[in-house]
Subunit: 316 residues, 2 copies
């Protein structure tokens, strides 16, 4: 990793694409003291980005993420200019390969020779984005979880042309700035966290489709039960503690066989037909009652910030 | 529901079986002001039950569950005596049908004529426990989530002989005492919440088996990401907010097709071979490092209590 800049020397970060994800990254990097040069092709993006950053600032202070001296935000009209003096680039262009490839070509001659470029892509396969790109060996997936300025997780994935040292640099840098980076060792659709979430959702949709429970009761089956622990530890660690003093070995011994039986009974993949979608939407409307999306978002954000604060205060 | 006692007139609850689940129920009922008559056949159970209740009391005060005047605990040596004047019975015998059926026969003549009996069973099918039992029409599943004195969820399931009004009484009574009860409308192995959890775990095991990520990184993929939201809302509500202002309909439109694609790529059910179990156990040991099970349990309980307190304080 000698070729890459020591984390302590990183000063300037370029953010390309400032929709929801890019704006959230911008707020995070600024709060951590980095100067950010941002670029986006959309009309009115500068005003929206500034508003997002101003709105996120108190949240980042509340959860203890912000350092004393916030970085400076510069907004430019050309992506090559944005990356030209960047020590790190976080790219958040729309989720279509031709758009990202076109952007990579536009910045290819401007990315400094030791700068790592991370793409926030959630749905594309990185190896499909590396052909003919000069900085391909320094191009990695750095997939955050929405909203990136609050949720710690970043998934790091290598493509066929990625230098392992560049991926290690990105993984290390995310950790250095307070994110929780993990390695996803293979290129699969959805990376890892979204696949895990999709697996849970599959059974949650099945439960409604099969008449096992209402949408509201399926939600409660998680949020009033096992979901409470999933904010504290992942599924393997939950089951490690299910085993009591015997740990994971005891859990696997006692509950492995019955769960394998349930798995056999849970082979169905639902088809998202118009009828099923209508049933899911109607169920959510029932549960929402008088509450609007805005009400629910406000409560989620309030609670998410309180949760992150608590987790930080009780960290081992 | 005229036949069943108004919730306000319930005074005495019988708890049969005082292992981990029964002891936790006992602590909860006492904290809510009910007199509890407990029975267990094991040596030394009275001392263990008293210790559990004493340990849980400050937790129940911390999360605001305890009412001013705690109920009285009576421990008896015969299950028929325990239920004879009970307004509600919560049964927590070992998870084997012959043991539960034998217990039901022992108490059959003693259960008062309008008293509902709930079984905490997680793995048995209720209809298999109702033949030849006099109170079968008042026998329901009331399955809690461990530990019942902290986790709100209770799953209510009817068997073939259960009177719907008895199930409605149990559902209503759990709500009356501060639990969150849901209906599971069919008898399936694992009820609902454990099946949802098993669906997530299936993919978490696959991820390790396929070399997609380490045990520790799979845990972080949930706990540092989507798990944070699952403590606040269930999977359908999470995706309702993923849709932004357009709600669940917009989410299904935009993300339904890609997730259906992931589902096709996620059809594998892992076999819990000795090699795979060893890999899971080794991964957890790596993640635990110097920490013992006791350390992890203590941190989980501290955080769970702080989380429940926060959720109560921020309830809409």
């Amino acid at each position: 990793m000698a070729a890459y800049k020591p984390f302590e020397e990183v000063r300037r970060i370029a953010v390309l694409g400032t929709g929801t994800i890019g704006a959230s990254w911008t707020a995070y990097f600024l709060a951590r003291g980095y100067d950010v040069t941002a670029w986006d092709p959309a009309d009115g993006w500068k005003q929206r980005l500034q508003a997002f950053v101003d709105n996120a600032r108190p949240q980042l202070k509340a959860i203890g993420t912000a350092v004393e001296s916030e970085g400076t935000l510069t907004m430019v009209d050309d992506p090559a200019t944005a990356v030209s003096d960047a020590d790190f680039v976080q790219e958040n262009a729309p989720e279509r390969a031709p758009i990202k490839l076109d952007l990579y070509r536009r910045i290819d001659n401007a990315v400094p020779a030791t700068t790592v470029v991370a793409t926030s892509t959630s749905g594309l396969i990185l190896s499909d984005l590396q052909d003919g790109i000069g900085f391909a060996e320094r191009l990695v997936v750095g997939h955050p979880f929405n909203p990136p300025h609050l949720i710690p997780l970043v998934e790091v994935v290598l493509g066929k042309a990625t230098d392992r040292a560049a991926a290690e640099w990105a993984h290390g840098f995310y950790g250095h700035i307070g994110k929780h980076a993990i390695y996803v060792n293979k290129e699969v659709p959805g990376h890892l966290a979204n696949r895990l979430q999709a697996a849970l959702w599959r059974e949650a949709v099945n439960a409604v489709a099969e008449g096992l429970a209402s949408v509201e009761d399926v939600n409660a089956a998680i949020a009033q039960g096992p979901g409470l622990r999933l904010a504290l530890m992942g599924p393997h660690m939950v089951f490690n503690l299910t085993g009591g003093k015997g740990g994971y070995a005891a859990m696997l011994e006692q509950f492995g066989p019955p769960i394998e039986g349930w798995w056999k009974d849970m082979q169905k993949t639902p088809a998202l037909t118009p009828e099923l979608k209508a049933e899911l939407i109607a169920g959510i409307k029932d549960e929402m009652g008088d509450r609007t999306i805005d009400d629910l978002e406000a409560q989620r954000d309030e609670r998410l910030i309180a949760l992150l604060k608590m987790l930080k205060e009780t960290a081992a």
